[in-house]
C-alpha cells in the first residue's frame, strides 16, 4: 500500500515518503505547516487514494482525550433512574450509557481506517500525553465495563498542528514528523493546474508573480497562503479579469484587483496601500 499523490492533491516527494513510512510502520504522522498549506486535506486525500474510510476528530480547546475513546453518559442514566420503572432493566446495564468515541470506532472496524486528529495544538497541554498509550499500543481500557478495547487493524493516524502549543517529547517520539514548507513557484504552478485546469497561462503567470511579490512585502501580519491564492484565482475567473489588469503596461504600480481575498487584515491592506502609494510617488 503506497501513497503516490492524487489527481487533486500535489504531494512533494518528501511528503510522499513521510506518508509511506507512516503507512509501512503503522505509526502516527504529525503534520505541521503554515495555515492553508493543505494539512487537513492530506488525510482526506490519502483516505481517498487508498480507498480507506476516514474518521475525523476535530479538536477544540475544551476537548478531552477521553472523548476520543468513549464517554459515559451519566446524565441520561441519572434521568432514567429518577424516572424509574419506564425502562427499568436498561438502567442496570452500564454499557447502555457508554458512547463510543472516534478511536473506539476505528479500533473496532473490520478494515483498516484512517484517523484524522485535526489541530491537536488547540487542546489542553495534557491532551497529547493522555493519548500516549492509545496511539502507541492502539488499545485502551474501559473502566466502567472492565473491558480492554484493542485495535483489530492498526489504523493510520494523521495529526495536524498549527504550532500554537509545544507538544510533549514523549508524544513526539512516537510519531513521524513532516513540516509542509511553503510551495515554491513550480510546485505552486502544478497545484493551481490541478485546481483550475482551464486557466489561461498568461493570467496564471501574472497572478503567481503578484502573489509571490505580495508574500515578500515586509511586515505583513498574515502572509497569504495557498488556499488564499486558490480563492483569489477563483474570484479572478468569476470576475473575468484580463491578465493585463494585473500588471498594467504603463508600468504604473497598482493595487491588484480583489486583493481582499489575499490580505485578511485591515492593517495589512493599509500597509500595502501605503507602500503602493509610496512606490507611485517615487516614479
Amino acid at each position: 500500500m503506497r501513497f503516490e499523490g492524487s489527481t487533486n492533491y500535489v504531494a512533494t516527494p518528501d511528503l510522499k515518503l513521510a506518508v509511506n513510512a507512516a503507512i509501512a510502520l503503522e505509526r502516527p504522522l504529525l503534520i505541521k505547516g503554515e495555515p492553508g498549506t493543505g494539512k487537513t486535506m492530506l488525510a482526506e486525500e490519502v483516505a481517498a487514494a487508498l480507498g480507506l474510510p476516514l474518521m475525523q476528530w476535530h479538536i477544540k480547546s475544551t476537548t478531552k482525550a477521553q472523548q476520543g475513546l468513549y464517554e459515559y453518559d451519566a446524565v441520561s442514566r441519572l434521568r432514567d433512574s429518577q424516572l424509574g420503572g419506564v425502562d427499568g432493566g436498561r438502567v442496570h446495564d452500564i454499557s447502555n450509557y457508554i458512547v463510543k468515541g472516534v478511536l473506539w470506532q476505528a479500533f473496532e472496524a473490520d478494515e483498516q481506517t484512517i484517523i484524522l486528529i485535526d489541530e491537536i495544538d488547540k487542546a489542553d497541554i495534557e491532551f497529547p500525553n493522555d493519548l500516549l498509550r492509545e496511539l502507541d499500543r492502539m488499545e485502551f481500557y474501559v473502566y466502567e465495563t472492565r473491558q480492554l478495547i484493542k485495535a483489530r487493524r492498526r489504523p493510520l493516524v494523521f495529526i495536524t498542528s498549527n504550532n500554537e502549543k509545544e507538544l510533549p517529547d514523549a508524544f513526539l517520539r512516537r510519531c513521524f514528523f513532516h513540516y509542509i514548507k511553503f510551495p515554491d513557484k513550480e510546485t505552486m504552478q502544478s497545484i493551481v493546474d490541478v485546481h483550475f485546469p482551464g486557466l489561461k497561462q498568461s493570467l496564471l503567470k501574472e497572478a503567481l508573480q503578484v502573489f509571490f511579490e505580495l508574500r515578500d512585502v515586509p511586515g505583513l501580519k498574515k502572509k497569504p497562503s495557498t488556499s488564499e491564492l486558490l480563492d483569489w484565482l477563483k474570484l479572478l475567473l468569476a470576475e473575468d479579469i484580463p491578465p493585463e489588469a494585473l500588471r498594467s503596461q504603463d508600468r504604473k504600480v497598482s493595487v491588484p484587483p480583489l486583493h481582499g481575498a489575499l490580505l485578511k487584515n485591515e492593517q495589512d491592506v493599509h500597509l500595502f496601500e501605503r507602500l503602493v502609494f509610496m512606490a507611485r510617488n517615487n516614479r
Binding site: 518528501d14 510502520l25 504529525l30 500554537e164 509545544e166 507538544l167 513526539l172 517520539r173 514528523f177 498574515k222
Partner: protein
C-alpha cells in the same frame, strides 16, 4: 554503521532519542525507501527531527556527516576505500544512457551480491565491475538508470545533495525570525487557566457526585467559567536608541495586546524613574507617578520590561542622571522598588545577546534584574516566559 550517524546528530545538539533511532532502523528494514541517499535524508528527518526549527541544524549535521563518508548504510559487504576514490568522470551520451538495460530492483541487488563475490581487485571504467566512473549499475560517479551508488562523493549527476545544502529551513531556526504570530505563540506559554468569578457553568461531574451522595435526589452544582487569568504589566522603553528596534517592539506589543486580557502598558525612556506615561504624544502633560502604578496593580501582575538598556551608567546610578528631567532618586532605586513589588519579572532586550558584555549599562541592569534579562528573540522569549511561570 548508522550508530555513528546517530551519535553525530546527537553531538550536533539535535534532540534525538534511541526509540526514534530504532524506528528509523525499522523503517530501513521494512524497505520504506530504496537505497538512495536522497530518500534516506527524508526518512531520517521524518523519524528523528520533530520540530521544524531543528531542520536547519539537521541539514548541516547531515551534510557534514555524509561529505566524507565511504560507506553507504544498508550494504552488507565491506568495500575497500581506494576502489571508490573518484578517479575519473565519464560523461555518457544520451544514446549510451538509453542503451543501458534497466534491471529491476531485486535483480539488481542479487547481481550486486554475485559480483561482490566475484570481484577481487580495484576497477575503473568499464560496464560490469564495481568501481568508479563506469556505467555498471554499481559503483560511484557513473550513469545507470537504476544504479546503486556505493560510497564516495556525489558525481553531480544526482540532485540529492542539493536538498540539504540549500538550507531552506534556515529561517525557521529559533533564534532568527520573529513575526507577530511567533511572538503570540511564545506569549501563550504564559497562559494560566483558572476558575473564578460568578458560578455560571453547569458542573456535570459535581452534580452527579452530589446526586449520588444525596441518595439519588438531584443536587445541582454550578461553577465559575474557566479563563486565562494571567495579568501582565508591560513597560516599554521608547525613543532614542530604541528607534532601531521599533519594528520588533511593535510586533511584540501587538502580539501581547491580543494575547492577554489583563494587559497594562506604560512607556519609559532609557531607565525607569518616578514617572511613566501611557501616550507618547502627551508624555510631558500626562504622566503617571510610578508609586500610583504600583498601588493600583497588585503583586499578582507579571512584570515585563522591554528596553535595550543602552545608556550612560550615570543615568541608572545617579540621582539627577536622567536625560529628561531632574530625578530625585536614581533609576536603580526606582527599578529595585518595582522589582520588589513584582517578584515575577523579566527584562527583554532587543539587542543581540553577544553584545551585552560590551555595554556597561546592560551589565548593571542585568545585575539589578538578577540575570533575568533575555534577548527579544523567539528562543529568548520562551526562556523569559518559562521564568515568569516558575
Amino acid at each position: 554503521m548508522l550508530i555513528d550517524f546517530f551519535l553525530h546528530l546527537k553531538a550536533a545538539k539535535l534532540p534525538v532519542s534511541t526509540k526514534e533511532f530504532l524506528t528509523l532502523l525499522e523503517g530501513l528494514q521494512a524497505r520504506v525507501i530504496d537505497h538512495s541517499l536522497d530518500d534516506f535524508y527524508f526518512l531520517a528527518r521524518a523519524t528523528l527531527v520533530k520540530d521544524e526549527t531543528n531542520y536547519d541544524k539537521y541539514d548541516r549535521a547531515f551534510a557534514a556527516y555524509f561529505k566524507g563518508v565511504t560507506e553507504i548504510p544498508g550494504l552488507e559487504a565491506e568495500i575497500p576505500e581506494d576502489w571508490l576514490k573518484l578517479m575519473m568522470q565519464k560523461h555518457l551520451t544520451a544514446e549510451e544512457k538509453a542503451k543501458l538495460e534497466k534491471l529491476g530492483w531485486d535483480k539488481l541487488m542479487e547481481k550486486l551480491k554475485e559480483r561482490l563475490e566475484e570481484q577481487k581487485g580495484r576497477h575503473q571504467g568499464g560496464s560490469k565491475w564495481i568501481g568508479s566512473g563506469g556505467s555498471s549499475p554499481f559503483g560511484n560517479g557513473g550513469f545507470h538508470p537504476e544504479g546503486i551508488r556505493i560510497g564516495g562523493k556525489s558525481a553531480g549527476n544526482r540532485t540529492a545533495i542539493k536538498v540539504w545544502e540549500q538550507r531552506e529551513f534556515k529561517n525557521l531556526d529559533d533564534s532568527v525570525e520573529l513575526g507577530t504570530r511567533n511572538i503570540k505563540v511564545a506569549l501563550r506559554r504564559l497562559r494560566r487557566f483558572a476558575r473564578e468569578g460568578a458560578a455560571e457553568e453547569f458542573d456535570l461531574e459535581g452534580t452527579i457526585r452530589g446526586t449520588a451522595q444525596n441518595a439519588g435526589w438531584l443536587d445541582i452544582l454550578m461553577r465559575p467559567e474557566r479563563h486565562n487569568k494571567v495579568k501582565v504589566l508591560l513597560f516599554l522603553d521608547i525613543g532614542g536608541s530604541m528607534d532601531d528596534h521599533v519594528r520588533l517592539c511593535e510586533e511584540m506589543f501587538s502580539a501581547a495586546k491580543s494575547e492577554f486580557k489583563h494587559l497594562e502598558y506604560f512607556y519609559f525612556h532609557n531607565c525607569i524613574y518616578d514617572y511613566v506615561w501611557r501616550d507618547n504624544h502627551r508624555r510631558h502633560s500626562e504622566r503617571f507617578p510610578l508609586a500610583d502604578v504600583m498601588h493600583k496593580y497588585g503583586d499578582d501582575y507579571k512584570l515585563i520590561l522591554v528596553g535595550d538598556a543602552t545608556m550612560s551608567p550615570y543615568e541608572i546610578l545617579q540621582p539627577g542622571g536622567s536625560v529628561e528631567y531632574m530625578n530625585a532618586e536614581s533609576g536603580a532605586t526606582c527599578l529595585a522598588r518595582l522589582l520588589q513589588k513584582y517578584p515575577k519579572s523579566v527584562w527583554l532586550n532587543p539587542e543581540p545577546e553577544r553584545l551585552w558584555e560590551y555595554r556597561h549599562s546592560i551589565q548593571i541592569l542585568r545585575d539589578i534584574m538578577g540575570t533575568r534579562m533575555y534577548p527579544l528573540s523567539l528562543e529568548g522569549l520562551e526562556r523569559a516566559m518559562r521564568q515568569l511561570n516558575k
